[in-house]
C-alpha cells in the first residue's frame, strides 16, 4: 500500500496552550483510520489541520508527495463530514450534494448522474427534492456523506459524525460507513471518543491522549496488547493490577507469583497487569489460581458481570451508641433543647470553635410552636489531653442542656499488604437522627468521621464499604458495631454462568491472559 498522508512532527498551540505535541503519523491509501481519544486530546484539531481549517504551529503535512500546509482548504483533495453535518439549510438534498460539483462547473447532466449515484449509495433514492432541515438525524448524516463523497476525494474526514445519533442508528451507521468505505475504496479518517466505534470499523486505530499518540495498531492489537494502563482502560473493560515483574515470564501481584508470557522488563520492575474480564473463569474454590467471594452479580444481556473479591480491604470497626430522644423541656419558658454526646480527635482540640461544638453535638433549641431558637451560650472547657469534658448549651431564656465531649487519641488500623490505614471514631446518635437519614452510609461515614489513606503517599483512599447489621427503620436504643472498609482486590469477570452474591469461588486464568504493561511515566 502507498503512503498517502504523512504528518511530520505536527505541533499546534492556542494561546500558549499546546494542543498537539509533535504528531508523527503515516496514513495509507484505502485505510479506515480512527483517531481515538477523550475530548480535549487533540484528535479533532489534527483533523481540522488536515482539512485546512487550522494551521499547525510547526511541522509538515505531506499529501500524496506534496507539502500542503499552505494550500487553502478549498484546494485540498479531501472532504469532510462535519460533527453536526453542516448541511446548507437553503438548499434541498439534491443541491446540497451537487454543491461541490457546481463549484467545479461540471455540466448539468454529469452532475445529475453523479448525484443520483450518490443518493443510491447512501440509500436516499427519492429524497432529492426534500428539504434537508426536515430530515431525520440519520438521513442528514447520509446526505453529508454523499455531499462529501460525490467530489471523489482521495480522503474522507469524519469528525465524530455518529455522536448525535441514537444507539440503534449509530450501530447501523457503523456498518454502513464501513460498507461505503469498502465500496468507494478511499481512505477514511474517522475521529471518535467511542472505543466501540473504533474497534468495529477501523483498519488502524490511533489512540491519542493530551496531544500525543499513545499507540497505533489494528483493533486486535490495541485490544489484546495495550501499551499502557491508559489504553487498556480506554479500550474495552479490564482488570488492572499493580504488580512487579520478578523476571522474564514471571510476575507478582498481591503477594503471589504468576507465570506469564511477557518478557523484556527489568528485574523487579513495577508494572501494570491487565486481565480482561472475559479471560477469567470462575471455578470451584481451591481449583483455580485465586480464591475469592462473589461481591455482586449484574445481568448485562448476553453475560453476567460478576465482581469477585480476592483480597479484602482494610477495615475499622466502631461502636455507635444509639440513645432515645431526650429533649430538655423548660415548661416555664415553653422551650425545648437537645444535644448529643460526641467523641473527638485529640488533634482537633486546638482548633475547636463554638460552631464546631454546636454542629458536632447537633445542639438545637425550639419553642412549643416548633420555631427554631438560637443557642446563645455554649460553655465548655476542653483540655488538650484525653478525657471526658462537660459542655453546656443554653438559650437566652436559660433553657440548658449538658453533654459530654470525649477526647480520644485517634486509633487507626493499618494493613501492610494493602498499604492502607483506616480511622474512625465511636459516636452517639439518637433513634430519630438515624431514622431521618436519607443516605445512611454517607451519614455514618460523616458521623464516625471515617477516613482512609495510603501508607505509601498519604493520598486519600475511598471508604468503599460500610457494614452494619441493624435495620435503620426499626432501630432501638443500644450499641451497634459499624465497620468501614476500603476496597480490596476485586476482579471483574464476564461469564454466562450465574453466581450468587456471597458465594466462595476460585478464579482461574492462563499465563497468556496476563498482559504486563510498563507503568505510565516509566
Amino acid at each position: 500500500m502507498k503512503k498517502l498522508i504523512q504528518f511530520k512532527n505536527i505541533v499546534k498551540s492556542f494561546d500558549n496552550q499546546i494542543v498537539l505535541k509533535g504528531i508523527n503519523l503515516d496514513i495509507y491509501e484505502n485505510e479506515f483510520v480512527t483517531l481515538l481519544g477523550p475530548s480535549g486530546c487533540g484528535k479533532t484539531t489534527l483533523l481540522r489541520i488536515l482539512g485546512g481549517f487550522l494551521e499547525q504551529t510547526s511541522g509538515e503535512i505531506v499529501f500524496d508527495g506534496d507539502e500542503i500546509s499552505k494550500v487553502p482548504a478549498y484546494k485540498r483533495n479531501l472532504n469532510t463530514v462535519f460533527q453536526k453535518y453542516a448541511l446548507f439549510p437553503h438548499l434541498n438534498v439534491y443541491d446540497n450534494i451537487a454543491f461541490g460539483l457546481k463549484i467545479k462547473k461540471q455540466s448539468k447532466d454529469i452532475i445529475e448522474q453523479k448525484v443520483n449515484r450518490m443518493l443510491s449509495l447512501v440509500g436516499l433514492e427519492g429524497y432529492a427534492k426534500r428539504n434537508v432541515t426536515l430530515l431525520s438525524g440519520g438521513q442528514q448524516q447520509r446526505v453529508a456523506i454523499a455531499r462529501a463523497l460525490v467530489n471523489e476525494p482521495d480522503v474522507l474526514l469524519l469528525d465524530e459524525p455518529l455522536g448525535a445519533l441514537d444507539l440503534k442508528l449509530r450501530k447501523e451507521m457503523q456498518h454502513e460507513l464501513k460498507k461505503i468505505q469498502q465500496e468507494v475504496g478511499i481512505t477514511f479518517i474517522f475521529v471518535t471518543h467511542d472505543q466501540e466505534e473504533a474497534l468495529t470499523m477501523s483498519d488502524k486505530i490511533v489512540v491519542m491522549k493530551d496531544g500525543e499518540i499513545i499507540q497505533i495498531g489494528t483493533p486486535t492489537e490495541i485490544y489484546n496488547e495495550p501499551v499502557d494502563e491508559y489504553v487498556a482502560r480506554f479500550i474495552g473493560e479490564s482488570n488492572i493490577i499493580d504488580g512487579v515483574m520478578k523476571e522474564d515470564y514471571l510476575v507478582d501481584f498481591d503477594d503471589k507469583d504468576y507465570k506469564c508470557v511477557d518478557h523484556g522488563f527489568r528485574e523487579n520492575e513495577p508494572v501494570d497487569i491487565m486481565i480482561r474480564p472475559e479471560d477469567i473463569d470462575i471455578v470451584a474454590r481451591n481449583k483455580g489460581v485465586l480464591n475469592g467471594e462473589v461481591k455482586s452479580t449484574l445481568f448485562k444481556g448476553v453475560h453476567y458481570e460478576i465482581i469477585v473479591e480476592t483480597v479484602s480491604g482494610t477495615s475499622k470497626t466502631v461502636t455507635m451508641h444509639v440513645l432515645g430522644n431526650k429533649d430538655i423541656v423548660n415548661e416555664e419558658e415553653k422551650e425545648k433543647i437537645s444535644a448529643s454526646n460526641f467523641y473527638m480527635d485529640l488533634e482537633d482540640v486546638p482548633n475547636l470553635t463554638t460552631g464546631d461544638v454546636t454542629a458536632r453535638a447537633n445542639a438545637q433549641a425550639w419553642n412549643f410552636d416548633n420555631e427554631d431558637l438560637s443557642i446563645s451560650k455554649v460553655t465548655y472547657d476542653v483540655k488538650n489531653e484525653k478525657g471526658v469534658y462537660p459542655c453546656t448549651f443554653e438559650t437566652s431564656n436559660g433553657t440548658a442542656v449538658t453533654i459530654n465531649i470525649t477526647v480520644v487519641e485517634p486509633i487507626f488500623t493499618e494493613d501492610a499488604t494493602n498499604e492502607e490505614a483506616v480511622q474512625a471514631f465511636d459516636f452517639y446518635k439518637t433513634v430519630d437522627e438515624i431514622k431521618e437519614s436519607i443516605a445512611l452510609d454517607t451519614d455514618l461515614k460523616r458521623w464516625a468521621n471515617a477516613t482512609a489513606w495510603s501508607l505509601e503517599d498519604d493520598s486519600v483512599v475511598e471508604i468503599y464499604d460500610v457494614k452494619y447489621d441493624f435495620d435503620d427503620e426499626n432501630i432501638t436504643e443500644g450499641d451497634y458495631q459499624i465497620t468501614f472498609a476500603t476496597k480490596g482486590r476485586e476482579f471483574k469477570i464476564h461469564t454466562t454462568d450465574y453466581k450468587k452474591e456471597g458465594m466462595k469461588v476460585g478464579l482461574s486464568f492462563a499465563p497468556e491472559d496476563i498482559h504486563v504493561m510498563s507503568k505510565v511515566g516509566f
Partner: protein, 261 residues
C-alpha cells in the same frame, strides 16, 4: 399557561381602541363625502376619482415610492458590507460597533434631522440630495442591525463546509452567506421602506417647501386644509401600495429560499 393568556386582554382592548377603530374610521372617511353627520352618511368614490384624475397626486405618490426605493437600495448597498465586516470582528469590537450604531437612535429623530438641516444649510446641493442624506442617515442603522443579526446567527461550520467542498471566499459568499442572509435583508427592507415611504418631516425639513411627498400631502389635508375625507383616501391608497410591496418582498424571500441557485 392558560391563565397567563389572559394577560393579552389589555393589549387587545388597547389595540382595538387605538388601532382597529381609527383604521375603520379612515376607511369610513375615505368612502364618504365631506361634512356629513353620522346620520346622513353619503358614500362616494369621489375622493379616489379626484386622486387619479389630477396627475399631481399620482406624481407625488410616484416620487414618494421612488424616494423610499432609492433610500432602501442605498441602505442595502452601504449596510450589507458594514454588517458583513462587523460580523467578522472580534466579539468585543462587535459589541462596540453595535453600540456606536445604535447610539444616535437614543436621540430623537426630529432633533437629529434639525441638526442635519444646520449642517447642510450652506452646502450647495439640491434639496432632493439633502433629503436622501437625511433619509439614509436615519434609516441605515435598522438595515445594518437586521443584516448583522442574520449574519451572526449563521453557523460558521456552513462556511467551513463550503470551503471544504471547493468554494473559495467569493463562491462561499455567493452560494452560502448571501442566500442565508436574505431573510435579514428582507426584514431590513421592511424596517426601512415602510417608514421611508410615509415619512414627511425629513423631506419637509431638509428638502425645503418644494419637495412634496405623499406624507406631506396627507399631513396637509389633515392639518392645514381640514379635508379629512380626501386625506383618508390618500392614506388608504398608500396603505394598499405598502401591503402589495410587502407581499412582493415576502414572495421574493420565499423564492430565494426555495431556489437558492
Amino acid at each position: 399557561m392558560k391563565s397567563f393568556s389572559r394577560l393579552v386582554y389589555p393589549y387587545v382592548v388597547w389595540a382595538a381602541i387605538f388601532i382597529v377603530v381609527p383604521m375603520l374610521l379612515i376607511v369610513l372617511y375615505a368612502f364618504t363625502k365631506e361634512g356629513n353627520g353620522v346620520l346622513t352618511l353619503q358614500f362616494t368614490f369621489d375622493n379616489f376619482a379626484r386622486f387619479f384624475s389630477d396627475s399631481i397626486f399620482p406624481n407625488v405618490l410616484w416620487r414618494s415610492l421612488k424616494l423610499a426605493i432609492i433610500t432602501t437600495v442605498i441602505c442595502i448597498l452601504i449596510g450589507y458590507p458594514a454588517a458583513y465586516f462587523m460580523s467578522k470582528l472580534h466579539v468585543n469590537k462587535r459589541t462596540m460597533m453595535v453600540l456606536l450604531i445604535t447610539l444616535p437612535m437614543w436621540i430623537n429623530m426630529l432633533v437629529r434631522t434639525y441638526a442635519w438641516r444646520g449642517i447642510l444649510l450652506d452646502v450647495p446641493v439640491s434639496g432632493e440630495i439633502k433629503v436622501y442624506i437625511g433619509m439614509v442617515y436615519n434609516f441605515l442603522p435598522f438595515m445594518i442591525l437586521q443584516i448583522y443579526t442574520s449574519l451572526l446567527k449563521m453557523d460558521p461550520s456552513l462556511i467551513a463546509a463550503a470551503n471544504d467542498l471547493g468554494a473559495n471566499k467569493f463562491e462561499t459568499f455567493r452560494r452560502v452567506v448571501l442566500p442565508l442572509s436574505i431573510p435579514g435583508v428582507i426584514s431590513g427592507i421592511t424596517l426601512v421602506f415602510l417608514p421611508a415611504v410615509s415619512s414627511f418631516f425629513i423631506p419637509k425639513l431638509l428638502g425645503g417647501g418644494d419637495f412634496v411627498l405623499v406624507g406631506n400631502l396627507i399631513e396637509n389635508y389633515f392639518v392645514s386644509t381640514g379635508d379629512w375625507n380626501f386625506g383618508s383616501a390618500i392614506s388608504l391608497i398608500m396603505a394598499m401600495i405598502i401591503l402589495i410591496s410587502m407581499f412582493v418582498t415576502k414572495k421574493l424571500d420565499y423564492e430565494s429560499a426555495e431556489v437558492g441557485d
